[in-house]
Amino acid sequence: MDTAIKNASGSDDYILQLEGVSKFFGTVISLKDVTLRLRRGEVHCLLGDNGAGKSTLIKTLAGVHKPSEGRYLIEGEEVSFKSPREALDCGIATVYQDLALVPLMSVARNFFAGREPTKKLFGMIPVLDMQLAASTAVDKLAEMGIHVRSPHQPVGTMSGGERQCLAIARAIHFGAKVLILDEPTAALGVKQSCNVLKLVHKARERGISVIFITHNVHHAYPIADSFTVLNRGQSMGTFAKSDISKEEVLDMMAGGTEIQSLVDELEGRQAA
């Protein structure tokens, strides 16, 4: 299955590739010979249960860890990031679960935290351009379909879904080519998850490639173009959406068979 995709299109098509990557922590094999290829402009879902190695894979992509074995390529060129900052400079933006937002600060100040726009006061003193920050933040969020009451509203007053969207919109605004989303819907309700999925779709429409990490197939399936399933540190393969059903994906994750046996057991008990 893995080779089928490779043959279908040239490898130039991939914006990001992990080729046979392994990662060891002492005696622990966290990732074993994992290959992940992200096409330009696709949403690629990385599925796996807890402990499957998702976090290690994200951190490898984000430049936190270096692969112990294997190659990491961006637009066909091998890279070796020394820090997350370098990955970010290459356009690989990671939105972690903690979102890197400060609840007590306003939307505008959060949006530009660390990358504040400045202007010159009296032609010499650099000051924050709060007006530009506020209007840009509002515009960029509106483009993504998120409407905030006011750019000066503290982020603490926003819902979990809105915060997630704010963090994603911020990454897109600052030039992300590849967006890595770590469980963006994990803590959200149905409707808010829906908003986040819409935002992922908008990002794809703008030509941004997305790696969507989740253990929830129901969130992943509607939005994804392809899937890579991780299980116990190994890749179970990459599949195009047309080749695989939701049930098969679920089966492939460790949970699938276990949930099925639970269902059988429960139904059996009811029948008895």
Partner: protein, 393 residues
């Protein structure tokens, strides 16, 4: 049915609550963007300002002393100079402590630093024959180096700043007493004031009053009272007030208008998030420790110039007073929230209560009771305001 204004605003903002949710969110740009967004009254917007509590408390304090000490001369020009100087001294260190607190750290060594800074300028000038300006420069350099060390240790060890600076509070106070008894044979080094007066640079910068011409003119013009000798009742504006204004304006500008100010809020609000968005957390925090030490040294230089001597008990408990002023001014002990303006009002309250109480019939021993109670009230009020600001309830 009685409705408050904020209730009215709420009902006006959502005319058709039942149908609104059927529309896809964000479909209509002209309507309120989201059916879940409500307007807030200007009063609520005001409540979200960090300095509100301290301004309200300042007004209350002035009303109190206006009623109980209105005729005592507390609000005459010399009375005003009296309490405003106390406020200015505290204000200088409160501004430094406030910025550091917003960045999420404390400096408990601030008070001891004041005593130590006094010795750092007094001992070289009186016993080593250094020119005064050099001794003052040395004190500033030494204090800022100590501030850097404080910050470096806190950031490097990741220990709470409370414990690291508590250690320095004792180390510096101890060193101050050692230096003083070693060189002067007592806990006080006198004669420094005269030496400052002889040095044109230090005299011009730190000693006495400014704008004397203006005050003389105002006295002649009858705007302010004259002494029997024809001199104005107040010779001029004490320089400590100008320094306070300078430090407060500078810090306020940096905090609200510059990138560095945004970084201060970010590192105090969530240091991990700050690191992830590329803010140099360590650099920001260490430079604020240095600023706090600078403020402590400025306090010491001005006080030694004014009193004329350096003593080993100077600045005792000032670290707490500075923190109290910052907290009354709306700063959160956990960081990420506060204002320079608020800290200045906090310091003003201190000055007015401390000096004002002796103008009333109230026993001045009550001063600490009042301030303690005010601190407690301020913390409760801040807590309430913050929970409203962050949850929007």
């Amino acid at each position: 049915m009685s409705t408050t204004t904020s209730d009215m605003a709420m009902t006006l903002a959502k005319p058709i609550p039942s149908n609104a949710s059927l529309k896809p969110p964000g479909a209509d740009h002209s309507a309120p963007s989201d059916e879940r967004v409500r307007r807030i009254s200007p009063w609520r917007a005001l409540l979200n300002r960090p300095e509100l509590g301290s301004i309200a408390a300042t007004i209350l304090v002035f009303i109190f002393f206006g009623v109980f000490a209105g005729n005592s001369g507390m609000f005459n020009l010399d009375g005003i100079m009296n309490w405003s100087q106390v406020a200015a001294y505290l204000g200088i260190i409160a501004v430094g402590a406030c910025l550091l607190m917003i960045a999420g750290e404390f400096d408990l060594s601030l008070g001891s630093m004041i005593g130590f800074a006094g010795m750092m300028m007094a001992v070289p000038s009186m016993f080593f024959g250094w020119p005064m300006w050099l001794a003052v420069l040395f004190a500033f350099g030494g204090c800022m180096a100590l501030g850097w060390l404080n910050g470096y240790l806190v950031m490097r060890t990741k220990l709470p700043s409370f414990i690291v600076t508590l250690a320095f509070m004792f180390i510096l106070r101890g060193l101050t007493i050692v230096l003083s008894t070693q060189f002067a044979g007592s806990t006080i080094v006198s004669g420094v004031g005269d030496k400052i007066a002889q040095d044109p640079i230090t005299h011009a910068l730190f000693q006495g009053t400014a704008l004397q011409g203006l005050f003389t003119w105002m006295a002649h013009a009858g705007i302010i009272d004259k002494l029997p000798s024809g001199e104005p009742v107040v010779a001029g504006l004490p320089k400590v007030l100008l320094w306070w204004a300078l430090v407060a304006c500078g810090a306020g500008f940096v905090l609200s208008k510059t990138r560095f100010g945004n970084w201060i809020f970010t590192v105090g609000g969530d240091a991990n998030a700050a690191k992830n968005v590329g803010v140099p957390v360590r650099r920001v925090k260490i430079s604020l420790f240095v600023l706090t030490a600078f403020c402590a040294c400025l306090f010491a230089v001005l006080q030694v110039s004014d009193v004329g001597s350096a003593a080993s008990d100077r600045g005792l408990q000032k670290e707490f007073e500075a923190i109290i002023a910052a907290v009354i001014g709306g700063a959160l002990l956990t960081g990420g929230y506060g204002s320079v303006l608020g800290a200045c009002f906090g310091a003003l309250i201190f000055g007015v209560v401390q000096i004002g109480i002796s103008y009333t019939n109230v026993n001045s021993d009550w001063y600490r009771v009042v301030l303690g109670a005010m601190l407690l009230l301020a913390v409760l009020f801040n807590h309430y305001i913050r929970s409203r600001a962050t949850t929007g309830k």
